[in-house]
Symmetry: C2
Subunit: 252 residues, 2 copies
Amino acid sequence: MDDTRIWTAGIVVIGDEILSGRTQDRNVAQIGLWLNLQGIRLREVRVVADDMAAIAEAVTTLAGRNDYCFTTGGIGPTHDDITVDAIAAAYGLGVEVHPRARQVLENYYGSRGGLTEARLRMARVPAGASLIENRISGAPGIRLDNIFILAGVPHIAGQMIDALTGTLPGGKPLLSTTLGCWVPESEVADILRHAERTHEGCQIGSYPFFREGKVGANFVIRSTEADGLERCAADLAAELADVGFETVPGGI
Amino acid sequence: MDDTRIWTAGIVVIGDEILSGRTQDRNVAQIGLWLNLQGIRLREVRVVADDMAAIAEAVTTLAGRNDYCFTTGGIGPTHDDITVDAIAAAYGLGVEVHPRARQVLENYYGSRGGLTEARLRMARVPAGASLIENRISGAPGIRLDNIFILAGVPHIAGQMIDALTGTLPGGKPLLSTTLGCWVPESEVADILRHAERTHEGCQIGSYPFFREGKVGANFVIRSTEADGLERCAADLAAELADVGFETVPGGI
């Protein structure tokens, strides 16, 4: 493990249903949290339509400039599932039926009406790709070099990343700690800026909220160094207390 | 209104807290639904970190190739709020205090401790920009040509787009209708593909789910033509009924 290098990832969310507002995406937050634990930083996300050119542009860009690229959606059995074809075309690869995926689907659908032509679509992979197993639905995810092609249904995508836990090289996990405070963030902006400047390697995000008829904010401190993180949080809490604002460890 | 042209928009979601998985984005779905009603198609979304270069790249690309570009996040009073600076820099513009924004903030903070330097940050706009009023927090959104700079807090962003309702040129609203069905989508993939092919101007999305221990799917038909949409839905329901699957109008 390289202690200094920052490992990054991008996610391409594929699906008209996200862009139309019909479906609330849940995969970005789920994969982002999981990546933190793998020591990999989620650097960017794109949401694109079910469109060959849009998928190709997003995947080649994010896979090209990050260590890892994850896609979600568009790998089911219906006509609007074009992720595999789009990625294969983007890299000039053919599409083939993966023998192990075919076997997995044959087993799964053996007692569920058999492996039809539509279902066999879910065994199609870009030539040379390997599989990411999935215990729920039978249909596996797909790995092509640094590209991980996952399902769109969040609990299936969750199973697929779970199967990858601990297998991807990464750096130090990004740690975070949160201080909640019943204060308008604008009143303590200088204190926040000062705390970030005087604690190297720490970033502080300020996230305001309105609750119980009152204004407050959560201050999230992030660092790869546990000691530095703790010092920054302690100093920030002390500086806020000095001007009369008590903080709530863990956030409000 | 141009009846044939498709008007498109992009959204740039700005914020480390979305990428870290800490905060679940709600603005994409909210703005996507609202855009449909304005006759504007959300074509693409990017989520980027609180980083000048990343914001500039995403905003200039999406604003350049869509009719409209919306940003959410990064317009508060703290050091991590850099959206205005990043967009101004991307277009080679200065940043200035907007007199009307200053006045709005003075009124709002008059009874709340006064207009501090941190709070005055929220009156800064790229030179030449106009304001999008916001009845909740005082701090306004910002319009720079076809770029709409909105708050990150969903209910404030919601107020800002509400203020824009009916003011943006668009085309025909995209209509949709949903048929739910207790069927594995893989069993009816051919019927879906055929229905889409034989109904010009209609797209059909298939969204599987697992509920009450059973497999089902919602089929969402989209079109700008109400008549065509209705015909497609009726034909699809009839074809599914022919092979023994009853559909639930409105979805399951």
